[in-house]
Symmetry: C2
Subunit: 346 residues, 2 copies
């Protein structure tokens, strides 16, 4: 239902209906109530363009971030993409920061009640994300970056984390590696679960036993990866290959490997997930880094386009997009060392 | 002037005045016009808290970014600080992306006309920044991150870029360096001009001739720094020390130095400006990096506090803050090589 249809149904001009919906003083209260009630009954969802015409405000996408943890290089790249995609579209991003889940929920309620945003960018989902259900209930349109398993139809965009990790792990096994560490993201997050599923599938398909001691979950920082790698390298049977969850993780693995006196790409192999940070170029590292590659910035640009479709009224059921991930082989991954080599290197 | 004073002057309740100022339909048009006219005449500036009570919206800080260039690691760290500072304060950040100066100006006009924001965060100023003048004219309160030389009183926060560069350059000269390269930011930006002034002061104070060929201006990327350093190392009299404008710049210098077969901290020295990125730790680099250090995130946290003061009515003339910068010496800076050492290394 468009504004035009609603106006015709009410026998009012589009301008009057639009102003009534937006609480403008030129419309008397009785009319405003009639318009609101009818809009609600007929399920009218204001078109962002109509809203912009009425208010002079740009369309606004809400983004709620956990201040302490979610501002980081991944979010910047993503925001840069969104920002690039929204330029010239008269669309702004409203960033609210919160400390925890309860505050995040309260913020969505506030954004809905105050009509501060036209839609929400939901990110970092868990496998069964109650925030997606809440937004549906609040009638706040949203695009999910990532995936969640809920019944409510919704718009989403994701990259194929499972397929990427399956390919990377399979490649390492084909090179002779049997002890492959997975430095994964925070447990429960969909992307981390998908990556673990891809890793396990590769190992099971090739009859390599899964050792839970080689799977670590943490945030993607140099420091965390450094400590995890040092611990794993001291195992009786240390890993000969690492799957690093991000380029930041790769920096920490690299540092621990170097301090242990091992050569990356010879004694130990690594494939890192590369979100394509402009200042951490996998090609420029020494040795150059093998990666599963998917540009976070491009994802942001694309999601900005999906928001335009959403606000133009495209049904959420038809806004589903899954991007494949490249496997790019460089110097940091090679054949597994023979036992002799490995013990000499130590 | 507070809302209370304006209401008393008008003989109306604070609620009525607040609703009138925000165009609520409960207030008739004649009253609204009278309130607006009086508020304008008496120079009343709505207090953010009053606005929030009236509208149910959070206070909003506007931030305009150039999509193609300004989303990057520095802006993220800064935003993370702002976000952390604004959490629990019911303040949001409205991010608009633009491509050029004209679009930025148009966006400020739009934000002012639509009353979408309570204040603006102005950043990356030039020495004589017309955007600061525009915001004053539009009566959009703002805090400037950095400094500009305009007559209009305004709130600002900056770090002592000039002092930092002067200390770093002086230290290198004291270590015997005479050919010191300055890899600086984009020409015309205040921080870059301040850094150049500090660098030149140090050289002049110690009678070291200034060679413009050793001063480069670019954006702070690994790539740009790599190319500039390669070119400088091929000079007949190459620099023996580098002042790198950021940790990203330092990565590029480091790469070019390594490829030239030189050892950092021995054949060539470097002091980099460190905005304290959590994933690029100067202590963890090999060799560890000497830095001028000032946390971009802490600056953001502080600026969020300054916004609260601004919106609570503190006069802009008393919101001026200049932070000192640490000089942290580590392994990457050392005595200048003797001529023999330098030619052997080549």
């Amino acid at each position: 239902m468009r504004l035009k249809d609603l106006a015709e149904h009410l026998g009012l001009s589009q301008t009057t209906v639009s102003r009534a919906l937006n609480g403008y003083p030129e419309v008397n209260e009785a009319t405003r109530l009639r318009v609101m009630e009818t809009a609600d009954r007929l399920g009218y969802r204001p078109n962002a363009n109509a809203l912009r015409l009425a208010t002079g405000r740009a369309s606004t996408i809400g983004l709620v971030l956990r201040g302490s943890t979610e501002f980081g290089p991944h979010m910047t790249e993503f925001l840069a993409g969104i920002g690039t995609g929204l330029a010239h579209k008269e669309m702004d991003i409203l960033v609210s920061t919160v400390d925890n889940h309860e505050e995040e929920v309260a913020t969505y309620r506030r954004l809905a009640a105050s009509q501060s945003v036209n839609a929400v960018l939901l990110h970092s989902p868990t496998l069964h994300d109650d925030r997606a259900r809440l937004l549906t209930k609040l009638r706040l349109p949203f695009v999910l970056h990532g995936r969640t398993e809920i019944d409510e139809p919704h718009a989403w965009f994701d990259i194929d984390n499972q397929g990427a990790m399956e390919r990377a792990a399979s490649h390492l096994i084909d090179l002779g590696h049997r002890r492959i560490a997975l430095l994964n993201g925070i447990k429960g997050r969909t992307f981390a679960e998908h990556r673990e599923a891809g890793y396990c599938t590769a190992l099971m398909d090739r009859n390599v036993p899964i050792d839970r001691g080689l799977i670590a979950n943490s945030s993607f920082t140099d420091e965390a990866a450094f400590r995890i790698t040092q611990t794993m390298l001291e195992l009786p049977q240390p890993p000969t290959a690492f799957l690093a969850g991000s380029m930041m993780t790769a920096l920490g693995v690299f540092r621990a490997v170097r301090i242990a006196g091992l050569n990356l790409g010879e004694d130990v192999s690594m494939i890192a997930h590369d979100d394509v940070f402009p200042y951490l170029n996998a090609d420029n590292m020494v040795p150059s880094m093998s990666t599963t590659r998917s540009s976070m910035r491009s994802a942001g640009v694309r999601i900005a386009e999906l928001f335009q479709q959403l606000l133009a009224g495209k049904p959420v059921e038809s806004i589903h997009e899954l991007w494949p991930v490249d496997l790019v082989l460089r110097q940091s991954s090679g054949p597994a060392p023979t036992k002799t080599q490995a013990s000499t290197a130590k």
